[in-house]
Amino acid sequence: MSDKNNFSVTIRVWRQDGAEEPGRMTAYKVRDVSPDMSFLEMLDLLNEDLIKKGDKPITVESDCREGICGCCGLVVNGDVHGPDDHSTVCQLHMRRFGDGDVITVEPWRIKSFPILKDLVVDRSAFERIMAAGGYISVNTGAAVDANAIAVNKDDAEEAMDSAACIGCGACVAACPNGAAMLFTGAKLSQLALLPQGGPERERRALTMLAAMDREGFGNCSNEYECEAVCPKEVKVSNIARLNREFLLANFFGKAEPDLAPAHLKSTPDIPEDE
């Protein structure tokens, strides 16, 4: 379907055949782009074209295409998740671009997220951080009545703000140090704000930070880039809380000392973001 509003763009995209292969930028012309198309639908259009020619289409990850599954993640013209604030790249629409635009598309570039192919990276480091303590230890069937514990509404709302994280990795991709402190801090905050998370609070802070360290993520140096790109507007106050949780766990915690990651002790505190 061609339309008078439709236009053409040039896509400069990272192509890499496999984890061990060298990569390069390759340019493609995409014609008949509708302003109502999403950015990923534009890439679909390009891929359909490549398939028909018998070329290998661009490998790119996406699933729900409504900003919640956290699969997609691209750097568009240098912007993590594209130019729109607080949205994922699947929510970006082509009405943001114009005829003749040259658009650069790259994957997350982070040591802890190795590239698997083209635009797809391996984010399993996040899984290992979660397995290190991102939960409340309660077996199925052991819970008390849901209304037995009253939770301050503001705390519940704040926990929800943190829990909104979709695990896309944008915070890491935007951080000059490749830190995963927003991701880890969000989970720690959610569970620290709720009374149910209390008993494991100190232990959790130590084990999750140790896992973060093992995965080779960097440290926070107060750039605030993570907050700026987070599609779910998770705030850097979560990192401040992570630091507090970590300090409290070290001073007052009963957890084993070997759980404490050494270098994090030098992490600067971040003022609470109001």
Binding site: M1, G18, S34, D36, M37, S38, E41, D44, L45, I51, K52, G54, D55, K56, P57, T59, S62, D63, C64, R65, E66, I68, C69, C71, S87, Q91, R95, L116, V120, R123, S124, M130, A131, A132, G134, Y135, I136, V138, N139, T140, G141, A142, A143, V144, D145, A146, N147, A150, N152, K153, A156, E157, M160, A163, A164, I166, G167, L194, Q196, G197
Partner: protein, 637 residues
Amino acid sequence: MNLDAKIPAGPIEKKWDSHKFNLKLVNPNNRRKYDILIVGSGLAGASAAASLGELGYNVKVFTLHDSPRRAHSIAAQGGINAAKNYPNDGDSVWRLFHDTVKGGDYRAREANVYRLAQISNQIIDHCVALGVPFAREYGGLLSNRSFGGAQLSRTFYARGQTGQQLLLGAYSAMMRQVAAGTVQVLNRREMVDVVVKNGKARGIVARNLVTGDLESHAGHAVLLCTGGYANVFYLSTNAATCNVSAAWAAYKRGAGFANPCFTQIHPTCIPRSGDHQSKLTLMSESLRNDGRVWVPKTKGDKRPANQIPEEERDYFLERRYPAFGNLVPRDIASRAAKMVVDEGKGVGPTGQSVYLDFRDSIKRKGLNKIKGEYGNLFDMYYQITDEDGYKSPMRIYPAPHYTMGGLWVDYNLMTTIPGLFALGEANFSDHGANRLGASALMQGLADGFFIAPSTVAGYLGATRFEAACAGDPEFGAAARQVQDRINRILSIKGKKTPSELHRQLGNVMWNECGMARNEAALKKALKKIPEIRGEFWSDVMVPGADKDFNQTLEKAMKVADFLEFAELFVRDALERKESCGGHFREESCTAEGEAKRDDANFSHAGVWAYAGEDKEAALHKEPLAFEHIRMAERSYK
């Protein structure tokens, strides 16, 4: 095909408890000797893995995503039902049971639905304990809202992201078991076949999506938690990778497929804008709590919505269903929208939508209150359409969303293949011909957290297992069969992409077997589907290699399965000559255009058995008896 539902004896209130008592147990020290394979990591899969891991079984979870947290349960917005009666508005287990059976238009199994309602309360308790940040009142207790098909507030929610929060809760419980060593997550793996040995499901073959290798995994039980198949319509609210392939592979290995034509078309979706569209986006039905649905009274009225005066608007849901108004169940709201659009009263550039208007509730409650409750949905609407729903009404149109049909299971959630279980949307059991809003999350977690851990143990405890390992010839044979199919797909090198063929199939399904169905259209579909399938096998183009990260090949394999499955779907729709729930046969309606059931001839689940390639599937029936709820015309007037 043996369709013994194994419904326990005794009064309905006691069935589940007495059944759990009668089920065999597995000694705690023996549990680690049992390998359980769980395919899919959504609500059903993750919660089953968590519970079974806690009990000490050796669990492997397979997900086609990079992380279990990506499963499509994540996208559910509105909420989860439970019979807590916290608002004191007269709810009870019995009422939730009643509403679900009625909402499903009397095509679900009573005993299963009663159990679901019973377990609903435990789910909320457990999720709160897991740290799910549900909405709360200032007093610190949980908040409820109402949903379609119910006249009370029983829906628990976490903003517009309830599915996300519940999945993250189940996922975190599962990750705790990963740390404990009872659960192993195998990511980027897609199940391509179920392996049956000595009449029992004993493992799966999975394709490693990064390397392309076919991997065999043996176990004592296989749990399919693989979701629904609404993507057979190409455009649906499902995520791109949602598929029928795992269920279809099970069907071809002998599992009965029940009621494939029962599809839910969700009324509040953002209308399509053009042919480039890859998916449709749902907005939570909770919007209907405060939004009023209308069209202009006059055909072809092209004025902007805000210039159409009150007396020239037709609030058709409020007019036709005064008792439930805008909160009628989904099937009824969808059909009513289709009816006014077919009359030429549709709005928007394509005429294929109706208004959902918040003007009056903004006036009544204030803009901030509406923003607080639905802000993320308004943002989503703006992002996609470039229109501001606060200033002028949103436009909505129904879209395929959920499939009530699925693998037939007995009361234990076991399919007709011993040892093969189906949980969540992948099975057919609880929603009959129409699912009520906020009941999918409830069912996924009931099956995974609470039901399967008991019934799978019951099966393991009662079964004598022959030795089986991944090196057995049955695994090799299954892998070879899959490999042949892959080789065949790659060798065609035609001119059409898998997506193009999928879109062709979707158009046929939507036009001939969508919101309204009739014999002539269904017969037309039965002619067209094999043609598209023929085109696929002679003209599909899949570049690249097999032992590689090849997304076009993944897509082609899914489309190949949809092209076979679609025919069964349409045959089921043709066979069921009555209207019920989401299945509307134009030949069977009342004078007012409402769906008319035919209880004398169709009060059964239609279960299809595979007969071999190019052979007609055989239809079996599980009769449904309604001993506790009187069957009546489903009225929401």
